[in-house]
Symmetry: C2
Subunit: 552 residues, 2 copies
């Protein structure tokens, strides 16, 4: 009698290019899966090197190292099948030199290899930059079962009125009459991703009548956050299990039980509230950046405003209060409440607080520069100087003590260029750069839901950069409710001016805002990496010409 097959999903956090580390993680997970009785253990896409390796793939040496690591895992496969993602060389001279492959290791050999057929090349993805699409759909036989192995994008080209690809790999797999489907993914987080992921896996399971095992990567890769949420779905479309978000997890499933599953799944699934997902994602992003680069401590400027306050709370939760340093840097136009609120915040969080005036340095600059300004009056030069002195203070401390400066800009201001390049736009990592101002407010409320961590005054007062007397954001920007809706429609939904006006936005506002967005591409070009939580963040997923005259 054929034994029941047990499959383990291994949802891990890899370090790109740290081969030994990844290999050892995989080895450890294989052992855990084995001791849990698994006959097969499945890892995510390109697990061996971490996703996305980007142009490291152009290095032959990098690809050789990947193969060496797989080879060194072969002895682990004597009594368990190991399914993992790895770049492999395309033996055909025509076409790109690599495939994005899934390899099955068993009894000390690579017994099956599949090449990803659909190569996402949009948004943050560049896979056709490196890989030749596979053209060998098929199944792999194991313990009497026919297993269809696909990789990430391969299962996403269904149920779409405007499919991105001409082919649907699972349709082709179906011709080989699989019993079970496995998908190796590296699918980054956005606030809508968990829901999309669940519905696409359910749809595949149902359409093809197969038990579906979906393994995602977890953890942060600079700006890209991987939320895990690996899935097991029964042929009925019932979600049998969902692995946790933003955590490593190894879990074993009995295939025969999955096959028949139609039970209650009301308790399956992680958080669905957007703000909760965002919070978890940003914590994961900060933690991953620091841990993987080997940094411990963060520094940030605390202005008394909501943006820096939210970032300080996130940094505190991610790194611990003992690893967060907040600087209050009053300047010539700072209000009393700005320092009071900032200090209160530091006190609430238990982080280090230091207060240093920028006045003397500011005046030293002005004294040095006045002979060269031809009597011109106070303008953006003096405003930017203040923001830049603050950044220089923080960078100085970063240099002295190995702190990483956290950037506290939000997406609304990055969009319209309301920030100082080499000033408040500095930092190693932008924490909330993918949150519109209105989302920052929502996150602040969430962070304060149990106790007032962010002083209420930082939340309720009108936003101001305080770079000249009585300045308010509202003096030069439309109200954030309107602005954010307009920006979201332009940036995330790619609506053009005519459509935006049809949506009800005023023509003058549309023209002004779109012009600001496009004109300020040069500033965003030099921004730090932005933790991505939306479907369209500034950064590698949005590539625009600096010198381009569209809509300005």
């Amino acid at each position: 009698m054929q034994a029941n097959m047990k499959i383990a999903l291994a949802q891990l956090d890899y370090i790109i290019g740290d081969f030994e580390c990844n290999r050892d993680k995989i080895k450890h997970a294989v052992r855990e899966a084995r001791s849990g009785g698994a006959n097969m253990v499945v890892f995510s896409e390109l697990a061996i090197c971490g996703y996305p390796p980007r142009d490291f793939l152009d290095y032959g040496d990098f690809v050789v190292r990947c193969k060496e690591m797989v080879d060194s895992l072969l002895p682990e496969s004597h009594d368990i099948a190991i399914v993992l993602g790895c770049p492999v060389i395309n033996p055909v001279v025509e076409g790109k030199d690599l495939f994005n492959a899934a390899q099955v290791l068993h009894r000390g050999e690579v017994v099956y290899e599949y090449h990803k057929m659909l190569l996402p090349t949009y948004d943050v993805f560049d896979e056709y930059r490196y890989f030749e699409p596979g053209d060998q759909p098929g199944v792999f036989e194991f313990m009497g079962k026919r297993i269809a192995i696909t990789i990430c994008e391969d299962i996403w080209n269904i149920g779409n009125e405007n499919p991105l690809y001409r082919e649907c790999p699972m349709d082709l797999m179906k011709l080989h009459e699989p019993d079970i489907a496995i998908n190796l993914s590296a699918s980054p987080f956005s606030t809508v991703q968990a829901e999309r992921r669940r519905s696409i896996v359910i749809e595949n399971a149902r359409r093809y009548g197969l038990s579906f095992f979906y393994v995602n990567q977890t953890g942060a890769q600079t700006e890209l956050l991987f939320d895990g949420g690996s899935l097991v779905v029964a042929p009925s479309g019932t979600v049998v299990d969902e692995l946790p978000y933003f955590q490593e997890c190894i879990r074993v499933f009995d295939c025969s039980q999955i096959q028949l599953f139609s039970g209650d799944t009301s308790t399956v699934g992680g958080p669905t509230q957007e703000v909760d997902l965002i919070y978890q994602a940003l914590i994961c992003g900060i933690k991953g950046y620091f841990q993987k680069l080997g940094f411990k401590k963060a520094i940030l400027g605390l202005s008394g405003g909501i943006d820096s306050a939210v970032c300080a709370v996130l940094a505190t939760d991610a790194l611990g209060p003992e690893n967060v340093v907040g600087w209050g840097m009053p300047g010539p136009f700072s209000s009393d409440h700005s320092i009071r609120d900032a200090k209160q915040l530091a006190h609430n969080l238990g982080i280090t607080w230091e207060e240093v005036s920028i006045d003397k340095v500011y005046h030293a600059y002005i004294d040095a520069l006045v002979p060269h300004t031809q009597g011109k009056s106070f303008d953006v030069m003096e405003e930017n100087l203040q923001a830049r002195i603050r950044a220089m203070y923080l960078m100085a401390m970063g240099n002295k003590f190995g702190y990483v400066l956290l950037n506290t800009s939000n997406k609304s201001e990055a969009a319209v260029g309301y920030g100082t390049l080499y000033g408040d736009m500095c930092g190693g990592l932008s924490v909330i750069g993918d949150l519109y101002k209105t989302q920052v407010y929502a996150l602040a409320a969430y962070l304060n839901r149990e106790v007032e961590r962010i002083p209420i005054n930082s939340i309720v007062k009108p936003p101001s950069a305080e770079l000249r007397p009585n300045q308010k954001d509202a003096d030069s920007l439309p109200d954030y409710d309107t602005l954010d809706k307009l920006l979201e429609a332009y940036i995330e939904q790619c609506k053009g001016p005519a459509e935006l006006i049809r949506m009800g936005f005023e023509e003058a506002l549309v023209n002004r805002v779109l012009r600001m967005v496009n004109l300020n591409e040069f500033k965003r070009f030099q921004s730090p990496p932005v933790l991505r939580v939306s479907t369209k963040a500034f950064g590698s997923g949005r590539r625009l010409p600096i010198v381009g005259k569209y809509l300005f």
Copy 2:
């Protein structure tokens, strides 16, 4: 009797997204071609919107505007065929939504449309991000001739032992028995590009026995420089004509004469000396950036060193001495000669010279920060502060007067992270960021070939950042001859450590340098755009993880 066909090549400089401007340029060129007796005028790839439009292509509105511009050109086509590049909508729902098309306008209609088959997706190119590959090779009949129209990459997949694509469009075109071949290109400059371009067009002409008309874009698109150099090649493989580099040009050719051409072409072709090409490219890059963004004046710090000197000469030649402002900013560790050499340079070039000490601002910073540095001694904090104060001075003047700050970093220092983020790494445009230090020396010699524009002392003295007493580059870096060879092998040729050691580089040096390169990706991530002159510049053509542990 069939009249002789005359074809005009229109090699123009477009502004991305400035539809009216591009349309009017095209219209003007059509009229010039017509008055030169042309029956057909050929423009470059995506001429209607300029290349590369990048994610503007995600905007439906952008694509509609392209179509509107083509429509508005139809009346111009009553007596001349207009061949131009334009994005068009893919009517098939499966696949990407756009094609990268060549359209033929004649007698007021679009009479033929070809879709680019090979979509470059490597280095600086992202075409599969936007376009579905075409699958309709064919010919277009005009004046009794069968014309094979291809777009850029389509003709590059030949004569290669390791072709990038499975198909060769010209092989497929050949089945339709063309008489003439036309290629619409947007092929950016590198020092080897003119030669590669010429040999690929020659090889195509010979292999298929066709007169080849190749039209390239010219002018700068931020970091990408297009050198023109459009070509007419006879079926014999003889180059009939090459249009000038980095200039707009419209020229008419008689097809019947090309057909038979086998004359002497020893005088055909632009400069081939690398340093001369680099000089022209950088001038084009500076001019294009300023003109297209509407800036007139540049500012830069003059340190007395070779890098800033070379940039100052280039800026002077591109913008005129009246539009270049040089600042000398002596600090606590500046040598006497640094200011003397810088001042002499400014005098030689006739540019504005201003001298402002950073000492008082530096001491103001130190006074403000000392209470927070826990008695730690002078280190990279104080070094970086000096570089940052200088950058803040220059940015201040930029803000006050609308100057663009030119970045003067070279590729060697950008590679190893020998530069201060938010200090000497600031700027709107990096002028020589794609030149290794040894290439900077060669360019300096070239600029001084007739008269000593750069003071000889700036060239011969040992390079130093002068950020601490008696500092020299050679204290912490290997000599530039060795370093640059190693960097070139690692960055341009993607050699891994084992190969580099086999090439003769010391193992310790290889490990140290590769580690520096990879570790400093976070700095380069925030660099200004770099004028690209090599086959692998830092920027959009080289995409690496910030948090990646390969080789460090």
